[in-house]
């Protein structure tokens, strides 16, 4: 649906055309965001995309801009535990909900440890999204089969081609998460 809207040639940021010509922030309600357990009250438009609010307002740059049309997955963050594409998610739609970014995993999460053991990243640009999609998958289903792994990760593109290692790291993370009590995770 989104892709259809953007299939026209030339600059096609249709949503941008509805950008207010006058500053509508005045008098507009503030947006409350709960990010990695911290509450932020922000003076931003409700239509602003979560990705740019995280990156530009909160300096959380782990989520990346890769395509802007929810195809590549580099902007993935978790909202109430589910992966969402922050590049097309309006902040107003996630106000008050629990948002987790890669920074919120703490660096020692079993999925991150598995990623390090398998030496997954090359350039690394897509890896925050890959890691978060895996966290969401394994929190929902501790023993996914290949079909479920593919379904969870096929929408996360990696131009360096680290896919074989991602698959191995998912399996390693499954083992680590079974061995790690939930409370000890980031």
């Amino acid at each position: 649906m989104l892709l259809k809207r953007r299939r026209t040639r030339g600059v096609s940021y249709l949503s941008m055309l509805f950008w207010p010509a006058v500053d509508s922030k005045e008098g507009a309600p503030m947006v409350d965001l709960l990010v990695n357990g911290r509450r932020h009250t922000l003076d931003v438009r409700a239509e602003a995309k979560l990705l740019w609010v995280l990156r530009e307002q909160l300096q959380l740059t782990g989520a990346k801009y890769g395509c802007g049309i929810a195809v590549c997955g580099a902007c993935t963050v978790l909202v109430d535990g589910a992966p969402v594409r922050a590049c097309v998610t309006e902040v107003g739609s996630v106000a008050g909900r629990s948002i987790r970014t890669v920074e919120g995993l703490g660096g020692d999460h079993p999925v991150q440890r598995a990623w390090i053991s398998e030496e997954v990243p090359q350039c690394g640009f897509c890896q925050s999204g890959q890691v978060l999609a895996t966290v969401a998958l394994l929190e929902q289903n501790p023993r996914p089969g290949e079909r479920q792994i593919n379904a969870a990760l096929r929408g996360h593109l990696c131009r360096c081609g680290t896919y074989s290692r991602i698959r191995r790291a998912v399996h390693r993370a499954m083992r680590l998460m079974r061995e790690t009590p939930r409370a000890a995770r980031g």
Binding site: L3, R6, R7, R9, G10, V11, S12, Y13, M16, L17, W19, P20, A21, D23, K25, W52, R55, E56, L60, T61, G62, K64, Y65, G66, C67, G68, I69, V71, C72, A74, T101, V102, E103, L105, G107, Q112, W115, I116, E119, V120, P121, Q122, C123, G124, F125, C126, N150, R154, H156, L157, C158, R159, C160, G161, T162, Y163, S164, R165, I166, R167
Partner: protein
Amino acid sequence: MRRVDRRTFLKTSAGAGGALVLGLVLPGCESDSEAAGSPVPLQRDSGADALAPNAFLRVEADGRVLVMIPSAEMGQGVFTSLAMLVAEELGADWSQVRAEHAPAHAAYANPTRKRQATGGSASVRGFFMPMRKAGAVARELLVSAAATRLQVPAAECRAEKGFVTHPPSGRRITFGALAGDAARLPVPTRVALKEPAEMRLLGRGAPRLDTPSKVDGSAVFGQDVHLPGLLIASVERSPRFGERVGQVDARAAIAIPGVHHVLPLEHGVAVVADGFEAAQAGRARLRIQWQASTNPAPDEAAAWQRLRAALDRSVPMRDDGDAAGALAQAAERLDAQYEVPFQAHACMEPPSCTAYVRADRCDLWVPTQVPEQARWLAATLTGLPEAHVHVHTPFLGGGFGRRLEDDFVAEAVTIARQVRAPVKLLWTREDDLRHDFYRPASVHRLSAGLTDSGAPIAWRHRVASPSIVARRFPEAVRDGRDKSAVEGAATLPYAIPNVHVGYALVDLGVPVGFWRSVAFSQNVFAVESFIDEVALAAGRDPYTFRHELLAARPRLQQVLDLAASRGDWGTPLPPGHGRGIAAAESFRSFVAQVAEVAVQDGRLRVLRVVCAIDCGFIVNPDTVVAQMEGSVAWALTATLKGAVTLQDGGIAQSNLHDFPLLAMDEMPDVEVHRVQSAETPGGVGEPGVPPLAPAITNAIAAATGRRVRRLPIGPGDLA
């Protein structure tokens, strides 16, 4: 240990930086606020408590070792492999080693390229000796300092795991505790390098230094650079190549809240705003009249017609014997034409550049493969001396040749000159796909002649394509002869007595650039497909046919044999399955691949790729594996997924929905087998790419009898 004359080291590592670079000593880390922002060379400070005997490394008083990496880390693992070279000779403890991008400076020129550029799979090749010598110089200084302190002969001391030890007495001192003393010693005149048997890191491997930061989100890419007061810029360019800005109506754009400036550039209009979204909103409201190009790009069909027509006026690039005569007399003659499309780089991170131009200095934070070129360009655009331009290199979210270009640097500096604030230029994915420097499209016409006993006696290969070198270094192309455009074709490795290779340069008005493995990516597809066709026409097995013709090329023959044996060549397969083989030398390395595919109901699955590589002496074995895996994914994307096509003077694709990339569930099993070798290191980043496409199409031919001669493979090619 082999003795190495220090003079060689001076020449190799210092380059135009001269003697100032070697023997420089940085101040201690606690007191170096001055030094931190300075470019090399730095001034000598004899009161130092850190040791920095050359431009490549510094041993801190706390024992940490900082290695300055002259190449760009874009995923290929160069932070780790180059730091390993230093750490090995130094005897460092790997857990204390850190890596940082070196600034832009001639001292960091890659010896194989004479400039600071990361490309051509040349980082380990170029820095194999200089980085090791840098580590060895520091080791000698630390050992001397320890010997003096312990009052023992230096010959009785060893540097290992971050200590200088004196085995006879069992005493040891940390590098950090010795750094200050070592910094005051004269740089040794001769240093010794380790023999392979003495090595602890090289050839064995070490954990990548950049992995943790790329997994916890703290790695800073170009897109992530942040400075106080930073503004965001975005540039609207013509959808058609070569057009210039005419009339601009910016009133609606400047009225957008958050938009600060609208700045016309030569080929686009920049919107400078508080943030990315405001900049995009401004762009969407610009009204721009474009001035037509003097060399507009043709549409897709016309482009292919021009390439095909050009084949008849190709100029000779290689002539062995008399290919035309031998073809005329051959008992059997084969002809085939192959076509390979334009391709985009589509690095996961679109181009970006942050620039801050002040009266007396310019700072760039730019993910680039050419920091020295960026510095020169910024100096030229600002009028500042090059020494006043400081290039800071964050991580590159992919490079693949795209960031050998400086177009986005020019834009950022031009914008920042007109704004009293640091400006981060961000390209959108649409900008990236529509304004890339594309891998050229090419047409290949091949002919071969066989004797009545099936021996190949003639080979003719004509290539028509736009020339990258003619665009980038026009003076290097005379009479339409671009040697780089026929790499992999003119370097035909097979023993055939009569060979002609010709090239026809065709300027299609499409910007072309270096794309992972460059012309090898197309020429090897044609060569390795056609040699397969010739083998089959001769009634021969494609592997043994190649093997026999490679008798004079033992390293290529060895990887061919290794791939065939590990790839189970010749063993039975289920119906609809097939194996294909291909091999090539590129960037001083030798790679062969066996691909196994299944074709069922017109649908292709690539099941397995067995890859054999001889890249000489291996520094970090896991990186070689990773680069082969990545090369397979890269080449498979171009083989299966898509292409860039011309339309209305620009390209038809606009984002990753219509320029699709390989996805995880399309990745085949990749097995990598490395030849143990003591030869000089070869390249690793690119050589895995060229054989993949022909290995796949050869496998399709084996499975179905259908020969694919045009990439990417379409559904109609299979059923």
